[in-house]
């Protein structure tokens, strides 16, 4: 007798057909659009042009170096925060994690107001050395690399920390019994065991930095330093090319291939070392006499990284013009009112709120359906659904944006809010799928089987048992979609038309047009809303630490 799952009944078949139809629109359509337009004979010459090659080199350098730095910092933090007795580990962890909660382009705006040519720190240092010219500036490759590092090391830390936790304690204990000290054990046993995770982390952060738009746009465009992602933007908004869409699609296809290769590499690596059981928490490495100095330095660095951007934004939004010192006399709230009054600003806020809530609702329902189908039923289309829903989180946002420009033109939705909404669903449905996948997969088959035996049909069992128990996870995933979408820049900047600009695009335009104070005021609002949102997620139970980790896991897809 062959094991054979009896027919799931018409209900499941219908559900699967509907979900596949949705994914055909959200995933297949934009990807096909990119490929169709990219595979154009005239494109190769444009692709090997000097501009594109230079931008590719710039991208590789900034992404590669920042990926490496982020991995090193992440590994260092994982050991420091998870394995030593440094003081106040819990709060230190939150501070070090904070750059993840700030959208990269807003981080760039904030640091620029400190370290830009007219930034407060630059001015102070220039004054100290007696130079009338700014002695350094965040514009250019070094600044871009630094900012990419700051915004990607938290994710690196979370991945490495998770893999560190998966190392069975018994392996380390065996090394201790064999005569190795704690540090020796760390070096000889623990770190070699997580080497595949380190390589995977580097791949992931490098590729995600490669596709970042906000940081190279804000720190590169003013000095004409282009990466592939900003070059795409430049081609699309200026008319330097006759066939911008085709060239852009070709660049997008290259980025897409790099992303797919990275995903494959990463999957392979994560399969190479499998530990059977979760290790418990091993005893902390005692820092001994260096405990206090190490703690002081760790806290100082954390404070700079977490608080300086916030202070900078606050400062920038309270002064009348960049470079003016903040005093009780100069302090003004007019930047906030100006920012709101800026043409399109209020509209942008409303657009973003409406779009992000709609995207969250759609992603919540679709993600729950996809998650339950791929975990609770067996079908050949499961792999397809899995890929179509979760691959986009490894695909650069720009590629999704470009895909929807083309697809939007095809279906006649270009320049409407609908196309932005569709692109958000493409990009973010993975958050919900990843969020519901774990609880759904962890629930044993017998949960639904018990319902079947009790008299429920296949669909009824799925809805009554699996959906209901995965509902909190779906809601958390949807909230994450909303929080991400409301401050999204990369996709929106490509798809926004004058009437459909989003909050991120408004801030970006303000910054580009030199209205730094207004940009900072809106940025501050975005950061505060983001922190409050995270507070809501955190208050739903398991603490900021875990919800932050969940967030990252959804972002970086193990």
């Amino acid at each position: 007798m062959r094991s054979q799952v009896p027919g799931n009944g018409p209900g499941i078949v219908t559900l699967r057909a509907v979900v596949l139809g949705c994914l055909a629109v959200t995933f297949a359509l934009p990807m096909v659009a990119v490929v169709v337009l990219a595979l154009n004979p005239g494109v190769v010459s444009a692709l090997v042009g000097r501009d594109v090659l230079q931008a590719a080199i710039n991208s590789a350098v900034t992404a590669g170096v920042s990926g490496l730095l982020a991995t090193l910092i992440g590994a260092g933090l994982a050991v420091l925060l998870d394995r030593t007795d440094v003081r106040g580990r819990r709060h230190l962890r939150l501070l070090y994690f904070s750059p993840f909660l700030v959208p990269p382009f807003i981080g760039a705006i904030a640091w620029l107001s400190l370290l830009g040519p007219s930034g407060d720190i630059t001015q102070a240092v220039s004054g100290l050395v007696g130079s009338s010219e700014p002695v350094f500036s965040l514009y250019g490759p070094v600044g871009i690399t630094a900012l990419l590092t700051i915004h990607s090391y938290p994710a690196a830390y979370i991945i490495i920390s998770a893999s560190l936790r998966r190392v069975p304690t018994s392996l380390e204990e065996a090394a201790r019994l064999a005569g190795a000290g704690r540090l020796r054990t760390l070096r000889d046993v623990t770190l070699p065991l997580i080497r595949p995770a380190l390589i995977a982390t580097f791949t992931l952060t490098a590729v995600s930095n490669l596709s970042d738009f906000g940081i190279p746009a804000i720190l590169g465009l003013p000095v004409r330093y282009y990466t592939l992602s900003t070059l795409i933007y430049k081609y699309l908004v200026s008319s330097v090319l006759d066939n911008p869409l085709q060239v852009v699609a070709a660049i997008g296809l290259v980025l897409l291939l790099v992303a797919v290769i990275a995903v494959l590499v990463q999957r392979r690596l994560s399969r190479s070392v499998q530990f059977e059981a979760d290790g418990g928490a091993p005893p902390a490495i005692e820092l001994g006499r260096s405990r206090t100095p190490v703690s002081v330095v760790s806290w100082a660095v954390a404070a700079v990284i977490a608080l300086f951007p916030l202070i900078a934004l606050l400062n920038q939004s309270l002064i009348p013009a960049p470079g003016v010192p903040l005093t009780w006399q100069t302090m003004t709230f007019s930047n906030f009112t100006d920012a709101i009054a800026y043409p399109g600003a209020l509209n942008g806020i409303i657009n973003s709120v409406v779009l992000s809530i709609s995207a969250a609702l759609i992603c919540g329902i679709l993600g729950l359906a996809i998650g339950s189908l791929i975990t609770r039923t067996r079908s050949r289309t499961n792999v397809l659904m899995d890929l179509a829903s979760t691959l986009p989180q490894s695909i650069p946002g720009l590629v999704i944006g470009v895909g929807w420009i083309i697809a939007g033109i095809w279906v006649g939705l270009y320049n409407t809010s609908w196309v932005i909404l569709l692109a958000y669903v493409t990009a973010f449905v993975a958050f919900v799928v990843q969020s519901v996948r774990a609880p759904l997969a962890a629930a044993s088959d017998s949960m639904e089987e018990a319902a079947r035996i009790s008299g429920a049909s296949a669909v009824r069992a799925m809805i009554d048992i699996s959906w209901r128990s995965a509902l909190p996870a779906a809601a958390a995933g949807a909230l994450l979609v909303a929080l991400t979408a409301v401050r999204e820049l990369t996709i929106s900047v490509l798809l926004a038309a004058p009437g459909t600009r989003t909050l991120g695009v408004v801030i970006f335009d303000l910054q580009q047009s030199g209205d730094f104070s207004a940009a900072a005021s809106l940025s501050l609002l975005v950061v505060i809303v983001g922190l409050l949102g995270l507070g809501v997620v955190a208050s739903r139970g398991d603490g900021v630490d875990q919800s932050a980790q969940k967030a990252v896991r959804s972002y970086v897809n193990n």
Partner: protein, 366 residues
């Protein structure tokens, strides 16, 4: 209940079973033997390629018939209890009634009754997370019984519990089943559980039935080498059965080539040829004086057991597993061993190793 399978692919093949009303049937076998597959086919989670399954007079699975699990009127308890964590105990137990559209008022009473039956009266409002593993399994049992099913299927239902709780639930289950006259099919990998609970035991190996019988029969008269080892921890000696001068069969081991002193050899058909001799631990005596039918064995290891001592003897070049009561034997001590009975099983005629399932493998009877 009547189950018939044909088919030769992996899983279960050629099983014919009839379970009487009110019978407690245990399905045992090593892991991978197909016992859970068989149970899940009866439940309706797996569709057999061929054969038929009847529940009562109703055909639920056949070449042209297929009833999904929800329409088979069965109750089932799973190993991991499968209590739905998002509902209270009462909601869990009421769910099957709700699907049967039993009115709310009646539902309440029946849920209360079912919970009282399993020893959890008044637990309706409790959350599953607050229950112990034993209590969860009781809730699962209440949920399975609340609709008064045609049969109760237990899939390793007690296996996730720790002793002695497991033992207590075993007793309660038996009592409940007897009181209500339930028909039960119980899958377990625990031999002693099957022996203590079941009216009849079906032993599966490589997807087919090895032996069916009352617990007493299975213990006293295993019908194959597998049954002798799986259920009785018999010692298996390879050798040949030859006819002796006085006409009684003798067994010569391959290891020494010499005759193994056994008082009585039970065998089927061929009184000679290659095969194995199974010696059950209970069929060996070590307390007698030396005689013509005894031989000397040396104690190699001694494990304490509730019934006495579980001893391994070095005996005629073999490791012989026996059970001894009374004084604790000492390691290295020599004992006079008399083997009262040996069960001879002729070697398979085909060259197949017993590891591959071969439907043509001869079944030997003692």
């Amino acid at each position: 209940m009547n189950v018939t399978y044909q088919g030769t692919s992996t899983g279960v093949h050629d099983v014919t079973l009839e379970v009487a009303d009110g019978e407690f049937l245990a399905l045992i076998g090593p892991s991978g033997a197909g016992k859970t597959t068989l149970l899940r086919a009866i439940a309706g989670f797996i569709r057999p390629q061929s054969g038929t399954i009847h529940i009562g007079d109703q055909l639920v699975s056949g070449p042209a018939t297929w009833l999904p699990p929800e329409r088979r009127r069965l109750g089932m308890v799973f190993q991991q209890h499968a209590i739905w964590p998002h509902w209270t105990v009462g909601q869990n137990v009421a769910y099957p009634l709700k699907l049967q559209k039993v009115p709310a008022a009646e539902r309440q009473g029946r849920v209360a009754d079912a919970l009282a039956t399993v020893g959890l009266p008044g637990a309706e409002e409790r959350r599953p997370a607050t229950l112990s593993s034993g209590q969860r399994q009781r809730v699962a049992l209440a949920r399975a019984l609340v609709t008064r099913p045609a049969a109760l299927l237990l899939d390793e239902a007690l296996s996730s519990l720790d002793e002695p709780l497991r033992h207590r639930l075993r007793m309660e289950l038996k009592e409940l089943v007897t009181d209500f006259g339930l028909t039960v099919m119980h899958v377990t990998h625990d031999r002693s559980e099957a022996l203590s609970l079941a009216d009849r035991i079906v032993t599966l190996n490589y997807g087919s039935v090895e032996q069916v019988g009352r617990p007493e029969e299975l213990v006293a008269n295993p019908t194959s080498e597998f049954m002798a080892t799986f259920l009785n921890d018999a010692t298996i000696v390879a050798g040949r059965l030859v006819e002796s001068a006085d006409g009684a069969p003798e067994f010569h081991t391959d290891f020494t080539g010499a005759r193994l002193p056994v008082e009585r050899i039970e065998h089927e058909q061929s009184a000679s040829g290659a095969g194995t001799l199974a010696i059950l631990p209970n069929d060996v005596r070590v307390d007698g004086a030396a005689s013509a039918t005894t031989s000397v064995g040396t104690v190699k290891s001694v494990l304490f057991d509730r019934a006495g001592y579980d001893v391994v003897l070095g005996y005629c070049g073999q490791d012989l597993r026996i059970e001894v009561s009374g004084r604790r034997p000492l390691v290295g001590e020599t004992l006079n061993v008399s083997v009262l009975r040996g069960l001879f099983f002729a070697a398979p005629t085909s060259a197949d190793s017993p590891a591959t399932a071969d439907p043509a493998r001869p079944r030997l009877r003692v």
